[in-house]
Every structure is written in C-alpha cells, then in structure tokens.
C-alpha cells in the first residue's frame, strides 16, 4: 500500500458513451455504463468499505465487505461486482450492512495477528483501516485454528511474504496476472487451507516471480511487504519522480524519511506506467547510495599514476586548462564530448551547448550512437521526425502487433506487461527475432507467427513482407494517394514488386519459410490496426537504418500510421535516449534535429548563445576513436557513459582512450572508462537533482530531487562550472531555466515548462502553440515532413559472415534484472538473478562441440576472445549464440566488431561471426582486464585514503 494519497475507487474506470444515472444514499450519480456500484459511489464521495477490491484490478467479489442494498432486490450484493443500472437506488449504510461488515471483519481478524503496534504496515494498513471503519471492537473466535504460526518466506531480496498476515484476498494473485501478466502466483488448496503460492519453485526466489512488486503494491496488509519498510518503518513523505532505467520512463513515488529513501512505488497516475513498475525501477535503487560512489573530484597526469583527490575548484580549473592547452596545441577540433541517455534533458542540452559554444566545435555525440541512431535517421527521412509515432496506450487499440528485434518483457518490462494485456484481449502477435523470446509462448499469449530469421537478414525479411503487400493488392491505396509522395511511392512499388524480394526468393537468406512470411504479411496488412514495435534487434546492424526505413515503408503502404492503435514504435533502450537525441547530442544536428549547416537555425542559436557556431558536422563516437588513434583527437569529456564497456571492439576503444591526453569522466562510479581517465568529476544520481527525462513515447516527465547531491553538485552545475572556467558564461540557477531556454529554441518544445509539467504530470512533444497539452499520436493529418516518403531498401548482406573459422553467429542483448553496462544493477541485490553473463547456445551446437551446461567456453571472433559459462537453450536456433554485456569482465564487446550501420555508424552488435570451444581458463584479455582493474582500484584507493589537497599534475 502506497503512502501517496491516491483515491482508490475500488474497480477500474470504464469508458462508454452510454451514461447511467442512479441514486446512491439519496445522491444522484451519473457514470459510464459498465461502472461498478463501488466505483460510482467513490465518484460521488462515498467510500464503501472494501478489502479484496482495488482500482487497478478487476472486481473479484470475495471479501464481502463492500456489500450494499439495492431497492427492490433481494440480499446484499457486493458493490464491486454489481454494475450500475439506470434508476437504481443504492443504500451503502444501514444497520444490516453494519452488522454484516463487522461480522466479516471479525472473521478476518480472528485469523490475523494482533500485533498492529509492531507490524511493518502499522499506520498504512487497509485491514487496520477497515477494522476501524466498521467499528470492530471484539473478536469472539480467537482460540480456533489459525495460520499465525506459519513461517515467512524471506527468500526474495526485496520483499517478504508472511502467510500469517495474509487474508487470501487474492489481490496479489490477480495483480500478477492482470497487471504484470506473469501468472506466477496462485491460491493453493481450498477453504481454511488456502494460501498464496508462487509457481515453479519452493519459494518466491526460486519461482517464476519476476519481482515486479505488483503483488506488494496490491497487498492490503503486511503479508507482502518491502524489506526496506520492515527494516526502516513507514515513510513520511513522497516525491513523484521518473525512473532512471529503461525507455518506458515509469513515474515513481519516492517515499522517504527525511532524505532517506525507504521505497519506490509506481505512481497510479503515471502516464507511461499507470501504476506498474519492474524489478529495476521498483527495487534496484540501492546503487544510489552504494559504498562505491565517488564523491570527491580527482585528477592525475597519467593513467598509471595514483588519483589525487582535489577540490571542485581545482578539478574544474585543471580540466579547463587542459582542454584549452590541447586546442591551442592541436587545434579547436581536437576535443569533444559525449552526453548520456542516463542524464536529464537539461544536462545533455548543457553538454552539447558547452561543446558547441565553449569548445567551439560540433564534436558531441551520445550513446544513442550505439543504439537508436538509425531510428533517428530512418524516421526523419521517411516520416519527417526522429521519434516514435504513438503513445504507449496506443497498444491497447492494436489488432495485430508486429514485434521486430525487441524483447519487451525483459528490456521494457512495464510496456511488455501492457502489450500482454492487449494480447490476452485477443490482438494477434507476429514476432520477428532469431531467438524465441518469452512473448512467443507465455501464459495466455502465443504468437501467431514467430519469424525466426537469421541474424543480419532483417532487410530481406521486411522487403519480403512489403513484397506480399504490394503483389497481393494489400496496399492502402487511398492512404498512400492522400498522404505520401507519389513519385517516391511509384519508384518503391516497382522496386519492391521485383521477384527478388519475394518470400520465396529470400527464404534461403532469412531462414524463414516463405509461407510463414506470406501469412504474417497478410495478417499485419489485413487485421485492422497494425502496430509495429521494434528494438535494437533492428537498429544494431550494418543495415540498421535501411531496416528502419523498411519498417516505415511497410506502415505507410498499409495505412498503419496516423491514428491510435497503429504506428512505428521504437522501444528506446535507456531512460532518456529520446531526450538526449532531442537535445542536440548528435554532431550534425542542433537541438530539435536541425542540421548544423542550416543558416536560419544556426542564426537563432547564435543570437541566443552569443557566439558563432560551426556549420560543419562533428565527429561521431567511432570517428572520435579513429581520430584519437590517428593523433588528431586529444581530449574528451564523457558525462555518464561507459564507452569502454558498452562500445564494440574493446581493444579498439581502449586503444583510443589510451591515446587521449585528457579524458574527463563524470560518473557515479569509477567505471571502465574512468580507469583510462585523467580527471574524475563525481556525478549525481537521479535522486539528487531536478530535471526531465523523455521516454520512448516522447513523454517529458519531471525528475525531482529527493536528497542533496552526495558530491555537493548536480551534474548540470558541474557542466556550468566547466563552461564558466572556459570563459563561456553560464548562469542558470535551476534546471527549469535551462528548460525555458530549450523551449525558446526548439519548436517542438515551445509549450514546455516546469509549471506545465507540474500541472499536467507529463506532456508528449510536440508541445507548442498548436498542441499546448502535447501530442500522443503523431502524423494524424499529415506527416511532419508533409508527404510521407517511401525509400528504397535493397538488402545488402553484412560482411560479418560465418565461415569455417567462425561458423556461428553471436548476437547480444540484455535481460530483465540487469541494465545496460550494469553499473547500477550490479550494485544491487538484482545480482541474485544474474550474477554473471552467460553464453546461450542451441543443444545441437553444444553437442557438436562437446559442451555441457555450465562449461567454460571460449568465444572467438576476428576482433578478440573471451570466456563465458555455457547455457544450453532451445530458445536459440542452431548456428546462433547469445550473450549479454552487463558485467565488464565478461568481455562481450571484446568479441563484437566495429562493423556498423552504413548511415549512422551504429555498431552491428547483433551479428558477429564466432567460434565456440570448451576451455579451462579465462581468456588472455580477461586476465589483462583483471590485472588492469586491480591496478586501477589500487590507484583509486590511494586517493580515497588521502584528503583533498592541492595537486601537482
């Protein structure tokens, strides 16, 4: 139960054009048809007692506390399961109802410990509240059989299950099914023996439970309770903020005692998550105060020197002096910056402004380079805007979902749950993925088609689907004629109709049977609202941009764009990927996706920023690495990213980092990149600063400071100090002033302000004069670019091909409990679920190589070699292996190559030709990594043991 004051109306709100008027306790109430009496009463300000009912779940009718009387009807119906009817006269309070409710409560309490004063839910317990509400004063059945001696299950690292306090109301079971869609919980046995159990294991930890916390949020007692509340007590205040994990951008209430965070609970009014969360956002926030946090600035001359702790003033002055020295010696273009999708909009805006205005160059890039830069390119070229077209709620109106290269139940779990809700309602699902992700076959959800394509053949597949649409007369001709460029469409139609794109011609390439492709294309094109969702399995390829274009082509050709329920929906990896791109983090674009060569745009920025700006595109991250190795790039400011772990071909990346004369890392921890740094500037967690994140549906949400920065300054303040030290003045007093500048400069943000965000909760850009409260669905009447533009998408096979030496294809991804490079989640109890990265391979490939479950296997590619533990899995197809990159010592990116997308240089993480062999010891790289890490940690230790002092580097 949350501290946040949300008026729980007991059953979900209904939407209907039909209105029903009834009388409740003599008051006239009008509500949509289908509304429960319980909900209607709450709307009228009458809160009927309840226990098993809560607004986030369908009515269950088991507790019998919400009984009412209805005129001219027999008995006492439960108000949660009885729907309103025209003219109905309802009485919620009288002597008979009073006696009934008190009798019910007496029975509940007869099997409930009377330890309220020492109970973890004391002061925030619905059972306690209801006992008071119905006037329970005595319990006559206290000596009978009960469950009070049952042992608690404390196996989950974040919450306990105490059956002694359970009233078997089934809220948790229903939350697990209805909200989360995992169906891990059940009620076993019957009658007195009924109890809640987690399926698939002997306790919660070993069960199928995914620790989303929906059951804990739903529990009306202390039966399911956060360990942090058990340890610390109930929180006293609540601050609404935004999760700092994936691109769903869940709204969370940080519940605190003073500045101490007690728990995070999902905000029922959150536009992106509607009161749901996942194991990361809900529970994995302990990293923010982890002992590994570095809170003192440090500098050193060489990466082999010990760190010297210094004051902020000295660190900033040193950094500014170094950057100016490098520019004087090697030219203005010798330095640059990398912004982070983990930082706020305001922070990324400031870093790119620092780079363009203070450094005087456009050498700024962001981690979207290695994830969704092809989305930015492909959607801008075809639709006119570098963003997804829908809001998340749109999925509830989809009739068929085409899911390509995304694994939402792991990568975007809260949206994954929403998608599963729609699929359980009957929407069809097509999955295109080399692996059998959970959504292919999960409780109450089964994909109509799993297009199990070979890695690297996305474009051949999308062309085959489009070929079927064109050749079988499934084009929405009216939509195309009205909304798209006719010449470009005619050219594309001729191109795609060529027999070389047919499913029959491409099945040998994709590995997907032609009939399956044809059936999938027909299903997508003819089943009402067709919605495409995609992830990094689309973008992280040598043809990533081509594939995004192909997706846009397919959506336009079938008219599946410009209304709720359809669209092209990139599932962004990190929390602020959309925002960091919006804010001008790419080296060729100023904020708002306007090219640096555009005179009008540049003039606008020059007038506000007061300096001339370069009209030349800057270096992208991989170009920075190449330039560093070739000697023309010498200084780099990295805010909140760990490129040494996340970017491909680790040997190449670390060689580039070692080539730099001044690497400045601003982060919470001494991450892998910081081990190559000369300046370390302590970062602030999302709990320590104000700002905004923009999620995958373009939703701008507030990040609110709940505690003071551990290292004294929020990240935006550090960037501002650096800019001032470089002689370019920045004088923002609060991030709201940065947002005001963003709103002045970006047409899609003209209507955004902190006042509006506080008032509305969140807004989806474009938010301006035309759309003052935001834009859930884009391209409704016309595309942002005017007419939609079809583009050609010839399939070009990746150069990363299997051969005798490297006969398998490695593809990489992430899992539910860990996040990106793991800097956050590795420092939480989430490690219990994923203590190391493992290599998944098909039983056939394992048997061929004599590999058994749990064996150490060497993974060799042309880039390098690492060693992982093997997991044999039927999820894989023969010839394809899979791993994650959450642990630095795993060295997943030692193996991946610098092969990249033709348009954006987004790395081809998803296709690496490898060989797998059984081994007995770590790889050479891993041994070197271990030695280097130990050396760097000892150099750090030397600093942390010393007080900040005047340094001499």
């Amino acid at each position: 139960m949350s501290l946040h004051c949300h008026h729980d109306r007991g059953t979900p709100a209904r939407v209907s054009t039909e209105r029903v008027t009834l009388s409740i306790d003599g008051m006239s109430v009008t509500v949509p048809a289908g509304t429960s009496i319980l909900h209607a009463a709450a709307e009228a300000g009458v809160d009927i007692p309840k226990l098993c009912a809560t607004e986030s779940l369908e009515a269950f009718g088991s507790c019998r506390l919400c009984v009412v009387q209805v005129k001219n009807r027999r008995g006492y119906p439960a108000s949660c399961t009885t729907l309103v009817e025209e003219g109905m006269e309802v009485t919620t309070e009288n002597d008979a109802l009073f006696r009934l409710r008190r009798g019910v409560m007496e029975l509940y309490i007869s099997d409930h410990p009377l330890d309220c004063l020492t109970c973890s839910a004391n002061g925030n317990c619905e059972l306690q509240d209801m006992a008071g509400r119905v006037g329970l004063r005595e319990v006559r059945y206290a000596d009978g059989h009960n469950h009070l001696a049952e042992a608690a299950d404390a196996s989950n690292p974040y919450f306990n299950y105490d059956p002694a306090k359970c009233i078997v109301c089934s809220r948790c079971v229903r939350a697990c099914g209805e909200v989360q869609g995992t169906f891990a919980l059940t009620t076993t046995e019957r009658g007195f023996d009924s109890r809640i159990a987690a399926a698939g294991g002997t306790d919660f930890l070993s069960s199928e439970c995914v620790s989303c916390g929906a059951c804990v949020a739903a529990c009306p007692t202390a039966a399911l309770m956060e360990k942090s509340v058990i340890e610390l007590g109930q929180p006293q205040r609540s601050v609404t903020t935004t999760c700092a994990y994936c691109g769903v951008g869940c709204s969370l209430n940080a519940e605190l005692q003073g500045e101490k965070l007690v728990r995070m609970v999902p905000d029922p009014s959150g536009g992106a998550n509607h009161g749901h969360a996942c194991v990361k956002g809900r529970f994995a926030w302990g990293y923010a105060t982890h002992a590994d946090r570095i809170t003192t600035p440090m500098i050193r001359k060489s990466i082999r020197d010990p760190w010297q702790a210094v004051s902020w003033e000295e660190a900033i002055a040193h950094t500014a002096a170094e950057f100016r020295r490098l520019q004087e010696k090697h030219g203005a273009e010798s330095i640059g910056s990398i912004t982070s999708s983990r930082c706020t909009n305001e922070e990324t805006f400031l870093v790119q402004k620092l780079t363009r205005a203070a450094f005087g160059v456009n050498n700024v890039d962001t981690c979207a380079r290695v994830c969704h830069s092809p989305t930015g390119y492909g959607l801008k070229q075809t639709l006119g805007e570098s963003a997804g077209t829908q809001d998340f709620d749109s999925v509830m109106q989809a009739d068929v979902i085409l899911l390509i290269g995304a694994n939402p139940t792991d990568g975007h779990p809260v949206f994954g749950s929403r998608m599963k809700q729609r699929l359980r309602q009957g929407a069809k699902l097509i999955v295109a993925d080399p692996r059998a992700i959970d959504l292919v076959d999960t409780p109450h959800v089964r994909a109509a088609h799993h297009l199990k394509l070979r890695p690297g053949t996305n474009v051949a597949l999308i062309n085959a689907l489009a070929h079927v649409v064109v050749s079988e007369g499934l084009v929405d001709e009216a939509f195309v004629a009205l909304r798209c460029e006719p010449e470009a469409f005619a050219k594309w139609r001729t191109f795609i109709a060529d027999p070389r794109h047919s499913p029959e011609a491409t099945e040998e390439v994709t590995g997907v049977p032609a009939a399956e492709m044809r059936a999938a294309a027909r299903l997508y094109a003819t089943t009402g609202n067709g919605a495409i969702y995609y992830g990094l399995g689309v973008t992280e390829h040598s043809q990533g941009s081509t594939m995004v274009i192909g997706i846009a082509n397919l959506a336009m050709a079938t008219g599946n764009i410009g209304r709720p329920g359809v669209g092209v929906n990139p599932l962004r990896g990190q929390n602020n990927v959309q925002g960091s791109c919006d804010m001008g983090s790419f080296p060729h674009e100023l904020p708002g996706y306007r090219h640096v060569s555009d005179v009008e745009t540049r003039t606008l920025f020059e007038s506000v920023w007061g300096v001339p700006l370069s009209d030349e595109p800057g270096l992208r991250i991989p170009n920075m690495f190449d330039a560093a190795i070739s000697g023309s790039f010498k200084g780099l400011y990295v805010q909140g990213e760990d490129i040494a772990q996340s970017d491909p071909n680790t040997h190449h990346v670390t060689a580039a980092l070692e080539s730099l004369e001044c690497l400045v890392v601003q982060d919470l921890f001494l991450n892998e990149t910081a081990k190559f740094a000369h300046v370390f500037l302590p970062g602030a967690s999302f709990l320590e600063k104000d700002g905004t994140f923009t999620n995958a549906e373009r939703r701008i949400s507030r990040v609110r400071k709940v505690m003071r920065p551990l290292a004294e300054y929020a990240d935006w303040e550090v960037t501002q100090m650096l800019s001032n030290a470089l002689g370019y003045p920045m004088n923002y007093r609060h991030p709201s002033e940065i947002m005001d500048e963003i709103a002045r400069l970006m047409p899609t943000f003209h209507g955004v302000s902190y006042e509006k965000l506080d008032r509305l909760g969140s807004v989806q850009w474009p938010c301006n004069e035309t759309h003052p409260e935001g834009t859930p669905t884009m391209h409704i009447d016309e595309f942002v670019r005017g007419k939609g533009r079809f583009m050609l998408t010839e399939y070009v096979a990746t150069e990363e091909r299997v051969n005798r030496r490297f006969p398998l294809l490695l593809t990489t991804g992430r899992i539910l409990s860990q996040y990106n490079v793991g800097a956050q989640t590795r420092r939480t109890a989430n490690t219990v679920w994923h203590p190391e990265d493992i290599l998944e391979l098909h039983p056939v490939d394992a048997e061929d190589r004599g590999i058994r479950e749990g064996d150490w296997v060497g993974v060799q590619s042309r880039a390098g070699e690492t060693v992982l533990r093997a997991k044999i899995s039927e999820r894989m197809q023969p010839g394809v292996v899979y791993t994650t990159f959450h642990w630095p010592g795993s060295g997943a990116n030692v193996v991946t190559t610098e092969n990249s997308d033709w348009a954006t240089n987004c790395p081809e993480y998803k296709v690496t030709a490898v060989q797998i062999t059984r081994v007995e010891q770590p790889s050479v790289w891993q041994k070197q990594f271990e030695r280097f890490s130990e050396e760097q940690m000892s150099l750090l230790k030397a600093s942390t043991e010393a007080k900040p002092a005047h340094a001499s580097v």
């Binding site: 273009e333 640096v596 992208r620 348009a903």
Partner: protein
Amino acid sequence: MNIEHLIHMANQIGSYFAAEPDPADARAGIADHIARFWEKRMRQSLYAGLDSGEASALAPLVSEALAEHRERLLGRAA
C-alpha cells in the same frame, strides 16, 4: 584517419544508394550523405587517399560520386 576504414564506410554508403535507378541520383545521394554526416577531416582524409592512389578499393559508384561532388565535399557542408 584510417583510410581503409573510411573507404569501407564510403562503400557501405554506396551500397545503399546503388539501388537508385538513376545513377546521378545515386551519386548525389552518396555525396549528400557524406556532406551531412562526415566531419571535415574524414572527408579530407578520404580525398587525400583518393589523390594518392590509396583508395583503389573504393567502389566505382562512390569514386564517381566523390569526383563529381569534390568541390562541395571539400568545401562547406550540406
């Protein structure tokens, strides 16, 4: 800048635009993409390689595009 890497990237861009039915459109597309997305020293290094005979691995279509749009690519962007 590593000339082999630049040639590889340029050829990849060429592979995309090679689908254009009109070769002039393909050449213009290649040049426009390089102008809009490549930093100046990358463009200069590619032309230096081209002029010194180190860029023989460039696809013919890309070489033609670079020759046709040399002034634009070595001058101002966009």
